[in-house]
C-alpha cells in the first residue's frame, strides 16, 4: 500500500471519529459561562448612570441661572422715577464708581457703570456675592436724585439707567433703559470699553470638577495559600515573584458643596500592574525513539541478529528563566472623600466601592516548579472582581501651573484577584504618585 493511501484512510477514520461527552454537563457549563459575561454590561451601565447623575447635578443649577437683557432706549429721569414708583417689584440702580472711569463726575448725566436688579428677598445675598461695599459707595458724593427702592435700600451715584422687570412671567429679564442723549457714539464706545459686567451667576448648591489623572504606583502584593499545605509552586511564587511597577490612568468627577470639606467622587479608572518571576529550573527530559538496540553476530559469522526497540534517553535540563504577567483592571470607583486644605497642600481620606468592569490578565505564570503556563489557560485570575470596598488617604499639592496637582496616595483594597479554587489568594494594596489636572466648573 502506498503511503498516500494510508494518509487518506486515517483521515477518513479520524474525521468520522466521535468521543463521548456529557451533553447536559456541557450545556450547563456553556450557559454558566455566558451568564458570567452578562454582568459586565450591567457594571458598565451602572457606571454610566453614576456619571450621568453627576453631570445632571452640575447642569441643573446652570439651567436655573438668571438671564439678563440690556435694552437701551430713550428715557428721562422723570420717566425713570415714575416707572420706579409703579413697579410691582423693587428695583435698584447702582453706580459702582470703583468699576468705571466716569466721563463726567460733576453732572448727573454720567453714563451707566453697572446696573443690577435685586428682588427684595435676595438683595443682601446678591450684594454680598458681587462684593459691593455699599458703605463705601454711600460715602461718595450722594446724588440729589437718588432713588429709594421698595426694600428701603438707597441707590448711590448718579442716576443714569433704569432697570425694570418686564412682566411676571419673565422674572429674570431685565431691560436697562438708558437716556438717549447720553448715548452718542463716543459715550457708547466709552461705556462698552469701560463697563465691567458683574457676575450674575447664581450660587450653585454643588460644584463639579473633572480630574484627568495619571499615576505610577508600587503594588504591595499579599499572597496566601488557599490550602492548608501550600504547594511547591506557591512557595516558589511567594519567594521569587516580584511586583514591578503599576501604572494608572483615570478620569474622576468630584461633586462638592461649596465650602464643604467633603464630597463624592466617581470616574473611570484603568490600572495595570506587572509581576516578574525568576525561576531556576531543573528537570529530566526523557526522549523515546526506536532503533537498533542490539546486533548479535553468530560464532560462525553467518547470522547477524538485529533487535529493534525503544531507545530511551534521559537528559537533565537546568537553567534559569524569567517570565512576566500583567494584570489590568477597569473600574468605576464611587467614593466619599474628606479633604482638609492647608493652603499649600491638602490632606484627604476617601472610602467607597469599586465597580470592577473587567480584570484582564496576560503573560505567563508559574505552573509547576519547572515551567510557566499562559495565565489565561491557567485560569488564575477572575475576569471581573465585581463590587469591592476600598479606603485610602492622600496628600495633594498644587504645582502652581494652572490647576495641576501632585498627590501621593495609598489605597487599601480587600478584593481577591484569583479565581476561587486556584489555590492562592492574591490581593494588592497600592501606594503611588499621581499627577492630575483639576478642571473646575
Amino acid at each position: 500500500m502506498k503511503y498516500r493511501l494510508f494518509e487518506q484512510s486515517i483521515k477518513a477514520t479520524l474525521n468520522n471519529a466521535e468521543e463521548t461527552v456529557d451533553i447536559g454537563q456541557l450545556w450547563n457549563s456553556i450557559q454558566t459561562e455566558e451568564k458570567k459575561k452578562k454582568p459586565l454590561f450591567w457594571w458598565f451601565f451602572t457606571g454610566l448612570l453614576v456619571l450621568a447623575t453627576g453631570a445632571a447635578a452640575w447642569v441643573y443649577p446652570t439651567l436655573n441661572k438668571p438671564q439678563f437683557q440690556v435694552n437701551p432706549t430713550s428715557l428721562d429721569k422723570d420717566y425713570i422715577q415714575n416707572k420706579q414708583e409703579n413697579q410691582p417689584t423693587a428695583a435698584l440702580v447702582e453706580n459702582h464708581n470703583n468699576h468705571i472711569n466716569p466721563i463726567n463726575n460733576t453732572t448727573n448725566n454720567n453714563p451707566p457703570a453697572n446696573t443690577q436688579n435685586y428682588t427684595t428677598a435676595n438683595f443682601h445675598a446678591q450684594k454680598k456675592s458681587l462684593g459691593l461695599n455699599m458703605e463705601k459707595a454711600n460715602s461718595a458724593s450722594k446724588p440729589s436724585d437718588a432713588i429709594q427702592d421698595k426694600t428701603g435700600a438707597e441707590s448711590t451715584g448718579p442716576v443714569i439707567a433704569h432697570v425694570e422687570q418686564i412682566n411676571s412671567t419673565e422674572e429674570n429679564i431685565l431691560p436697562i433703559e438708558i437716556p438717549a442723549r447720553l448715548l452718542n457714539s463716543a459715550h457708547k464706545e466709552k461705556i462698552h470699553r469701560d463697563v465691567q459686567c458683574p457676575t450674575f451667576r447664581k450660587n450653585r448648591s454643588m460644584k463639579l470638577s473633572l480630574i484627568p489623572e495619571i499615576g505610577y504606583f508600587k503594588p504591595f502584593k499579599s499572597l496566601t495559600s488557599e490550602t492548608a499545605v501550600p504547594s511547591e509552586t506557591f512557595e516558589l511564587r511567594k519567594a521569587d515573584e516580584k511586583s514591578l511597577e503599576g501604572l494608572q490612568a483615570a478620569l474622576y468627577a468630584r461633586l462638592q458643596r461649596p465650602g464643604a470639606n467633603w464630597g463624592i467622587s466617581t470616574g473611570l479608572q484603568y490600572t495595570r500592574l506587572s509581576e516578574q518571576m525568576n525561576l531556576a529550573y531543573s528537570y529530566i527530559r526523557r526522549d523515546t525513539t526506536q532503533g537498533i538496540i542490539s546486533v548479535t553476530v553468530s560464532q560462525t559469522g553467518d547470522t547477524i541478529t538485529t533487535i529493534y526497540g525503544d531507545i530511551i534517553s534521559e537528559t537533565r535540563v537546568t537553567g534559569t528563566t524569567k517570565a512576566h504577567y500583567y494584570l489590568s483592571t477597569f473600574d468605576i470607583p464611587l467614593s466619599v472623600f474628606f479633604e482638609k486644605d492647608f493652603n499649600s497642600f491638602a490632606i484627604g481620606g476617601e472610602a467607597g466601592v469599586y465597580f470592577n468592569l473587567a480584570l484582564a490578565s496576560k503573560g505567563k505564570i508559574l505552573n509547576t516548579a519547572n515551567d510557566f503556563i499562559d495565565v489565561k489557560s491557567a485560569a488564575a485570575f477572575r475576569s471581573s472582581i465585581g463590587v469591592s470596598g476600598f479606603a485610602g488617604i492622600y496628600v495633594k499639592k498644587p504645582l502652581g501651573i494652572g490647576n495641576l496637582m501632585f498627590s501621593i496616595r495609598g489605597r487599601y483594597n480587600p478584593s481577591v484577584f484569583n479565581t476561587q479554587g486556584y489555590g492562592t489568594i492574591q490581593k494588592y494594596q497600592f501606594v503611588g504618585a499621581h499627577l492630575g489636572y483639576e478642571i473646575r466648573f
Binding site: M1, K2, Y3, S9, T13, A17, E18, L26, W27, Q290
Partner: protein
C-alpha cells in the same frame, strides 16, 4: 429538527436550537478537541469555548460551505489556543524533502482503528503532530497553518515533511507492524 432550521434558530438566539446544535455536533467536535489537547479536561474546555464562539459568531456564517467544517475550524482554533502555550512549534527553516509520498507501507495499516491511529500519531513530537493533523486530517493549507500557529509557511512545510518521514519510518519498522498484527489477531 433539520440542520438549516437549527442554524436559523441559533441565529435568532433560540436556546432550544442552540441545545440541538450542541447535541448534534458535540461528540464529533469533542473528538477533534481531544486529538489536539490529548486531555479530557482541556478538550472539554476547548469544546465549551467552541460552542460559545459558535453562538457568538453564527451570524457570520453565510451558509456557503459546510457548517460542520466551519464548526471544526472553530474547534481546532480553540484547541490550539488551549495548548498553544504548553507547547511551542520550533521554527525550522531548513529544507525537508517530502520523499515519502510514494513509499510503500505494509497493508496491515489500511484498516487501523481510531485508537491505533492515535497511538501511532502520538509517537510524533508535538509540533509535528499538530501540523500533521492540521494539514493531513483537517486539510488546511500551509498558509492557513502558518497563520494559526504564528509560524512561517516554510516551517509548516518542513515540519510536515519531518512528520511524514517519521511516520514512514515507524510504519516500515517490522517491530511496529508485528505488534499491530498481533493486536489485531488477538
Amino acid at each position: 429538527m433539520e440542520l438549516e432550521e437549527i442554524i436559523k434558530g441559533c441565529k435568532a438566539g433560540n436556546e432550544k436550537c442552540q441545545f440541538s446544535l450542541v447535541q448534534h455536533f458535540a461528540t464529533r467536535l469533542m473528538a477533534v478537541c481531544m486529538r489536539y489537547t490529548h486531555d479530557q479536561e482541556l478538550a472539554k474546555d476547548a469544546l465549551q469555548e467552541t460552542f460559545i464562539n459558535a453562538f457568538k459568531y453564527i451570524q457570520s456564517y453565510s451558509g456557503k460551505g459546510s457548517f460542520e467544517g466551519w464548526l471544526r475550524r472553530i474547534a481546532v482554533n480553540c484547541s490550539l489556543k488551549v495548548i498553544k502555550t504548553m507547547y511551542e512549534v520550533h521554527t525550522l527553516e531548513e529544507a525537508a524533502i517530502d520523499t515519502n509520498a510514494f513509499a510503500e507501507v505494509p497493508d496491515v495499516y489500511s484498516s487501523m482503528a481510531k485508537d491505533d491511529i492515535m497511538e501511532l500519531l502520538n509517537r510524533l513530537p508535538h509540533s509535528q503532530y499538530v501540523i500533521f493533523n492540521l494539514s493531513v486530517i483537517e486539510g488546511y493549507h500551509h498558509t492557513e497553518i502558518a497563520t494559526m500557529l504564528n509560524i512561517t509557511e516554510s516551517t509548516s512545510r518542513a515540519t510536515l515533511c519531518k512528520a511524514r518521514n517519521r511516520l514512514v519510518e515507524i510504519l516500515q519498522s517490522e517491530n511496529y507492524s508485528e505488534r499491530l498484527v498481533a493486536k489485531v489477531g488477538s
